[in-house]
């Protein structure tokens, strides 16, 4: 009795190889009940849903940055279920737990429903409901006023990873402010910097085709990145080896072929020792390295003292094991790699740490090859540039410019911008427009973020829920969730899986009084005499984006995803690298001019201050397949699975401090403290504690996580990567005591 379509889809293999075959079979079966698999045009879908039939609408998940393609099932005007779009290869046709929990975000009673104007003091939680007309008038007036008083750069714009964030950045540009930050400088820019400064671009890891992967500072089976997480499982099924270095026994460590509980902050020592072995034993492709890289002799000399025995002292991993791993890694080259990682906001020298990762990859000769590091593929989505006006009185640069040598001009540094706002130097920034990002939770040192808010004359937050940042704002505007929105197109690359385009159609109309940030900015632009820069609809914007991709719009409507079958490997066959030497820079020449070490120089991680050495731990933080920072922890379905965050501590450490599993502890750092439940487990090193992001909210509008657990921002110090200004979130030592006891 098995359903023919089910049988067909049983052939589905998450690997690229069988995917299209499976999709083809699916297409054949789809004829039987087209509506199930093919989404309808929005109007048609609405009509069907009102008739009580099920309709299906294509969208892309917004529960994290991965943007998994999905099909929303709608009945009676309600989204009943989200299914993965089986044609979406980047996610290997899946939706994770958070993706599945998207319906609970849509129908969350905690959602913002109307524009709100602050009444009492900031953070007091007294709000007055106002109309959109009032809200738009106020926002426009404040933008005008701050621009006049402090120049247009007196406004800071911060937008999260959202498909409408491009409109916030566009608005900032035409309004005239250079001061734009995003979540990236609290996350990934150190790693990007490192790989960019080695290979000339930021690569994708071809995990699926790799035979040997070293993962350090990344937890891919929990912190999902598509398609890497699934591809790693598939590659291992085919015999690839995964070596994990992590102070914690994560799920990734549990499934790996080898796990080493490395001492936190010593990854560079491990990588330099790999270079030492690979070079000394000539385990690299000499012709390739000579032809494609720059600075081998310098690197050779540089790593001569970084022997595996030396690295053993630093990392806690035995020297012979390091040497063996180096040999195995090199033997599998070029189909082997050191995984670049994503969040690299961990240490003050994170850029140089990740440079050491990049250099090992360069020695493996894996660039642009199957199983190695891949260059960006052509997707073909066109940018829609704005012709921004010139403002004579503006300062020359961003407020955080020149504070670190190699900042990304378009991202800046949130931590450094915050300091500039507080001090008012080099110039005053007095207004803040925030869209769907939550630095009160995600930026280290919440006390400083509160200082920053205090320095602001006006803060407006647009979000779907009362985030901690919204809680501190003056004006809070309700945005529709991704399931209620028509969005522009977004280009995505899924490693070797695909180069593709996704977009969003609304599955249901915007709820309550919520309005897309695009509509808000368009209206404000009109009032500020900037209407010409927002003189388009979302459809028209999409058409401009897709101008070079013939027929893409139709394919998107039919399949929910458009693929560009562009070249995957060998992109650099006849091309130089975008570096100074036009080669892969083992030795970075630009770094010398910038006053930086041209080769990564190891410095041991700091030890805890003497006074607290007995009870102090290095704190490490992370997320999981159920947690995307604070944007997902208040979700009812996810909250049931992760009701709070706990502090992981090794049994020996807990015994030493007389602490018991399950009891409440006080976690204290030089900048703040908080309480949470203790989780005593041998799955962490004795010198390290761990907790998850996204809890301990101040906002009473987040009913499930308000005052629940520890907010990492409350205890982490506001340190930053000295090269990029990226936050450095693993540089804090905390002391842990029984809650309620003496400090």
């Amino acid at each position: 009795m098995s359903d023919p379509m089910n049988s067909a889809r049983q052939g589905f293999d998450p690997g690229r190889r069988n995917f299209l075959k499976a999709a083809g079979l699916l297409g054949a079966g789809a004829a039987a009940s087209p509506r199930v698999l093919r989404a309808l045009a929005p109007a048609e879908a609405q009509a069907a849903s009102v008739r009580g039939e099920e309709s299906s609408v294509f969208s892309a998940c917004d529960m994290c940055f991965n943007r998994c393609g999905l099909i929303a099932r709608v009945r009676g005007g309600r989204v009943t279920k989200l299914d993965p779009n089986p044609l979406f290869t980047k996610s290997r046709g899946m939706l994770c737990a958070r993706g599945q929990a998207g319906v609970a975000q849509l129908y969350d009673s905690d959602r913002l429903k109307t524009p709100l104007l602050r009444q009492g003091a900031r953070g007091e939680g007294k709000w007055k409901r106002i109309s959109w007309d009032e809200a738009i008038a106020l926002l426009s007036a404040k933008l005008e006023e701050i621009g006049k008083k402090y120049t247009r750069c007196g406004m800071l714009f911060s937008a999260g990873a959202d498909m409408q964030s491009a409109f916030v950045n566009r608005f900032a540009e035409v309004y005239g402010s250079f001061n734009v930050t995003s979540h990236e400088s609290l996350c990934l820019i150190s790693g990007n910097r490192a790989f960019l400064d080695t290979f000339g671009e930021v690569p994708f890891a071809d995990v699926l085709n790799s035979r040997y992967v070293i993962m350090a500072g990344a937890n891919r089976f929990e912190a999902l990145v598509t398609p890497d997480s699934m591809d790693m499982v598939e590659a291992m099924k085919g015999g690839a080896k995964l070596v994990v270095l992590d102070p914690r026994f994560t799920k990734t460590a549990a499934m790996a072929d080898e796990w080493w509980p490395i001492r936190p902050g010593t990854d560079m020592a491990f990588m330099l020792a790999l270079c030492n072995v690979i070079i000394n034993e000539k385990l690299y492709d000499e012709r390739w390295v000579a032809e494609k890289t720059f600075g081998l002799p310098e690197l050779h000399e540089h790593v001569s003292a970084y022997t595996p025995e030396w690295a053993a002292q630093e990392t806690g991993i035995p020297g012979p094991e390091i040497a063996r791993i180096a040999r195995e890694l090199a033997a599998a080259a070029p189909a082997s790699l050191v995984y670049p990682g994503r969040r690299t906001s961990d240490y003050e020298n994170s850029t140089q740490i990740r440079r050491s990762f990049a250099i090992v990859n360069a020695l493996l000769g894996n660039w642009d090859k199957p199983g190695g590091l891949l260059a960006a593929r052509q997707v073909g989505v066109k940018p829609v540039p704005a012709d921004a006006p010139w403002y004579d009185d503006n300062p020359e640069t961003r407020v955080d410019a020149h504070l670190v040598p190699l900042m990304f001009e378009e991202e800046g540094s949130f931590v450094l911008t915050r300091e500039a706002v507080i001090t008012g130097e080099p110039y005053p920034v007095k207004g803040w427009f925030v869209y769907k990002t939550n630095p009160m939770q995600t930026a280290p040192d919440r006390t400083r973020t509160l200082e920053m808010v205090k320095a602001m004359e006006f803060v407006c937050v647009v979000d779907i829920q009362m985030s901690d940042t919204a809680w501190m704002a003056d004006l809070v505007l309700p945005a529709p969730s991704y399931l209620e929105r028509k969005d522009p197109c977004q280009a995505l690359q899924g490693s070797s899986a695909c180069a593709c385009v996704v977009t969003r159609e609304p599955a249901v109309p915007a709820m309550f009084e919520s309005r897309p940030v695009f509509d808000v900015l368009k209206e404000v632009a009109g009032r500020l005499d900037l209407a010409e820069h927002f003189d388009f609809t979302i459809e028209e914007y999409r058409a401009k984006q897709l101008a070079a991709l013939n027929g893409a719009a139709d394919v998107l409507a039919r399949d929910g995803v458009y693929y560009n079958p562009s070249k995957v490997y060998g992109i650099y066959d006849n091309m130089g690298y975008k570096t100074k030497s036009a080669k892969i820079e083992l030795y970075n020449q630009r770094y010398i001019t910038a006053g930086l070490d041209p080769l990564p120089v190891y410095a041991p991680p700091k030890s805890p201050p003497k006074e607290i050495a007995d009870s102090a731990f290095r704190m490490v933080v992370g997320r999981s397949a159920l947690v995307t920072q604070s944007s997902s922890t208040n979700n009812a379905l996810l909250h049931e699975l992760v009701p709070t965050n706990t502090l992981w501590m090794h049994p020996a450490a807990a015994a030493r401090l007389g602490l018991k599993d399950g009891e409440m502890v006080r976690v204290k750092s030089p900048v703040g403290e908080g309480t949470q439940k203790l989780h005593v487990t041998a799955h962490i090193r004795e010198d390290t504690v761990y907790t998850e992001t996204g809890f301990g909210a101040l906002s009473k509008g987040l009913s499930r996580i308000n005052g629940n657990g520890l907010c990492i921002a409350a205890v982490l110090e506001g340190k930053y990567d000295s090269v990029t200004g990226n936050a450095a979130m693993h540089e804090t030592f905390v002391s842990v005591t029984k809650a309620g006891g003496a400090a």
Partner: protein
């Protein structure tokens, strides 16, 4: 061989992301505090540096057993094994919510629905299958660790996977409560020691213990239930007979 919808699970691919659990919850409107499916985690008290594959995650749900003790425990015939597809079903109209079947399942696959006041468990998403979709958990699984299909149909992926792994198939069973589950794991799976001893209260005892609204309604329901149970028993006896499965402990081949 009779039709038998089943799951063949490559548990080594499961990363405990719980996508399947949330998908199921949404698809089947499973109330808070309850789940129809799960991931069991192998305890690793002291992970050892340098060692590999120390952990293991094992997806599960109702195993639509060949000798379902839940069916034996049901006093009304609401729980029955459907010979048409081999699934073990709960007829909500007949279920009196006595909860007798719950401890009878060695896998803890059942719970009492607090709103509907009936027993509930995995049913392989019949509403989805009718529309040509896979069960919600199978559909959403990132690594496709869960494979679903009719193992009696040699063309199904589930049957093919079973055939290709002959001699490497494991079922999680407890010797004193072997229900002959139709959930097959490839090669080693862990943990294996978690099923509990099935316990069945005699049906009539359960009926008398179930003292709720009105005695007359109770008698009416019970009478209907007994009739249905008799009818279903008859059906199963007639269509049933020997299942194609051999003794189900540890590893076993499927044909």
């Amino acid at each position: 061989m009779k039709p038998q919808l089943a799951m063949v699970i490559d548990s080594a691919k499961c990363m405990d992301c719980k996508g399947c659990m949330v998908a199921c919850k949404v698809a089947n409107e499973v109330p808070g505090g309850h789940f129809r499916n799960w991931i069991k985690v192998k305890e690793v008290a002291e992970p050892r540096p340098g060692r590999g594959r120390q952990g293991h995650f094992q997806p599960g749900a109702c195993m639509h057993c060949d000798k379902p003790m839940c069916v034996d425990a049901c006093p009304t015939g609401a729980t029955f094994k459907d010979p048409k597809d081999g699934t073990v079903k709960i007829d909500r109209a007949l279920c009196i919510g006595c909860g007798n079947c719950i401890p009878a399942c060695p896998y803890g696959a059942r719970y009492r629905h607090p709103v509907l006041k009936v027993a509930d468990k995995c049913d392989y998403c019949p509403e989805r299958r009718e529309r040509g979709l896979l069960p919600a958990c199978v559909d959403t699984c990132p690594t496709k660790a869960r494979v679903f299909g009719d193992i009696a149909d040699p063309d199904s992926e589930a049957a093919r996977l079973l055939a290709a792994n002959q001699g490497r198939i494991a079922r999680v069973v407890r010797a004193d409560s072997d229900t002959k589950p139709n959930m097959f794991y490839l090669a080693d799976t862990a943990p294996a020691d978690w099923p509990h001893k099935a316990s069945i209260t005699p049906p009539m005892l359960a009926l008398t213990k179930w003292a709720l609204p009105g005695v007359s309604a109770l008698i009416g329901l019970a009478a209907a239930g007994v009739a249905a149970m008799a009818a279903r028993r008859f059906l199963i006896e007639r269509d049933g007979g020997g299942s194609g499965h051999g003794p189900g402990h540890g590893t076993e081949k499927e044909g």
